[in-house]
């Protein structure tokens, strides 16, 4: 059987019929092309680039949302801590309290602190936000709740009845930081602490910003003004509340002074509580100092029996007056807080030369 040669096959291929479109078909396509020509000129650019444009827009969208997300994340790092410990750990504040041999202070990772004695927790310090402070107060059974007075920082004091196995009461101090939004919750469990030891430690609580001691609100440090009594004697203090008479305050020199207390029923109730205590606070150092002199030694307080009779000086108009010897160790601004039987009466601010 013979086969075709390559040339013959190729010849056969080339001999296929060539078709021609008829004039109707040609005309219809030409018409179609005429229409296209007029309408499509302007849109060709957009049409050709709409796919890359679309993907560019989508990419941009991803980029923008991605970077927005990233920026939000970094913002949170600087300013959006919502918990007290978060703000504290990433802030520039620190706190200190007087050391005691009776218990050890254990720092925790979240910035808070526990007071430990014999392996038991007897109190602590924790930084809180305003909300957290409110929550903390809500869990208590407050026996006493009052604004802090005579402390370096403003805040709240609560006495809380717990009645658990180990704890009878808790003394809560909430100190408001003058620098940040933080509240420092300092708490002491009874019976390990009592009201006095708790208060004494609470007085020593100090907040530092970048290592610098933060002063409390300046209102606590406004120098007391002078006022005159009906006897034309000039007192330093608060008219109709508290005043002190004596020579100018000079550092290192012991002088006699006379404290006058004014008021009515409520004040009498405090004045009759017992021991008279003066806590002097140096504005610069923040230290609490003893200024009362007794038997040539410095003491915190003079002993008075509870409900002992008051000694008013009617000429001056006071309901109670106490003569004292006082000595200031340093010059500067001092705030003198007065207490009767542990209950605070009022304070004056004086300048010691």
């Amino acid at each position: 059987m013979t086969r075709l040669t390559d040339e013959e096959v190729i010849m056969e291929l080339k001999n296929f019929k060539s078709y021609k479109m008829n004039s109707n078909q040609l005309q219809s396509i030409e018409n179609e092309l005429n229409q296209l020509s007029s309408e499509n000129t302007s849109s060709t650019f957009i049409f050709r680039f709409y796919k890359p444009l679309l993907s560019m827009i989508v990419l941009l969208l991803f980029l923008v949302s991605g970077s927005y997300f990233a920026m939000n994340q970094t913002n949170e790092n600087t300013g959006k801590y919502t918990t007290g410990s978060g703000i504290f750990l990433h802030g520039d504040e620190s706190f200190k309290m007087k050391n005691s041999d009776d218990f050890i202070m254990k720092r925790n990772k979240d910035g808070s602190m526990f007071f430990m004695a014999d392996g038991k927790k007897v109190g602590g310090i924790e930084p809180l936000t305003e909300d957290e402070k409110m929550k903390s107060i809500q869990t208590q059974n407050p026996f006493v709740s009052q604004d802090l007075e005579g402390f370096r920082y403003s805040g709240t004091y609560n006495l809380d009845h717990q009645k658990t196995m180990d704890v009878v009461q808790i003394h809560h101090y909430y100190f408001k930081s003058p620098h940040s939004k933080l509240n420092y919750h300092v708490y002491f469990y009874t019976p390990f602490f009592n009201g006095d030891t708790a208060a004494e430690l609470a007085y020593s609580f100090k907040i530092y910003n970048d290592g610098k001691l933060l002063q409390g609100s300046d209102e606590n440090w406004k120098l007391s003004t002078e006022f005159a009594t009906p006897t034309f004697e000039v007192l330093v203090g608060k008219k109709d509340k508290i005043g002190i008479a004596g020579p100018p305050f000079i550092a290192g020199k012991t002088d006699k002074f006379l404290w006058h207390f004014f008021g009515s029923h409520n004040e009498i109730e405090i004045l009759t509580r017992g021991d008279f205590k003066i806590m002097a606070t140096n504005k610069d150092s923040g230290e609490h100092e003893r200024v009362l002199v007794q038997n040539s030694g410095m003491v915190w307080s003079y002993k008075f029996q509870k409900d002992s009779p008051l000694s008013p000086i009617e000429k001056v108009g006071s309901i109670h007056s106490i003569p004292v010897n006082m000595k200031f160790s340093n010059s500067g601004i001092y705030r003198l807080d007065t207490y009767f039987g542990g209950e605070r009466f009022d304070s004056i601010v004086v300048e010691v030369k």
Binding site: T2, L4, E12, L36, T44
Partner: protein, 176 residues
């Protein structure tokens, strides 16, 4: 020259080339819509057309893409129908809406449709439509060497297929 004028000029010049290519590529005479589509597409993408290139081969390559799309679509649409058909009649591979003038050509064309795709491409372009190797290489985006080699092989493959009586008689007639 403006785009629309250019495409019209191309249409007048090359419409029959496109028409014949599509007929032989698809095996049907019902290709006017695709001829139109090829020129519409050509107009849309005329900015991408390189000035040095030959508009004829460029338009043919567009038409070829359209035809491939068309085959893909119809394959999907008629896959089931064709399967059913092939059960009843094994022969009906050629569309019946066009008739080649003689039996030999019909058989040759049938042999071409049985070739693999690359052979069929080159046989239709180089053989039936008589494009030069350069033109074919532009349309298929092949190198000229590849065009020539593939064409040679596809001719060998066609020779093997054309062994029936009719061809033998015909060959005898020529050789005698």
């Amino acid at each position: 020259m403006k785009k629309e004028e250019r495409i019209k000029q191309w249409f007048t010049l090359y419409h029959n080339d496109i028409y014949n290519f599509l007929i032989y590529y698809l095996g049907t005479k019902d290709v006017e819509d695709m001829v139109q589509e090829a020129f519409v597409k050509g107009f849309k993408y005329i900015d991408q057309f390189e000035q040095r290139a030959d508009p004829k081969t460029w338009l043919i390559s567009i038409a070829r893409n359209i035809a491939i799309d068309h085959i893909r679509k119809t394959k999907r649409q008629y896959a089931l129908v064709n399967q059913l058909k092939s059960i009843f009649s094994e022969k009906s591979k050629l569309p019946h809406d066009w008739v080649l003038e003689d039996e030999r050509k019909k058989e040759l064309y049938e042999a071409i449709t049985e070739l693999k795709a690359s052979y069929r491409d080159v046989v239709i372009l180089r053989g039936i439509l008589d494009f030069t190797p350069e033109e074919t290489s532009h349309i298929l985006k092949w190198k000229i060497d590849k065009v020539n080699l593939t064409y040679y092989r596809s001719v060998q493959s066609l020779k093997k297929k054309l062994t029936s009586e009719k061809w033998s008689d015909y060959i005898d007639a020529i050789n005698r």
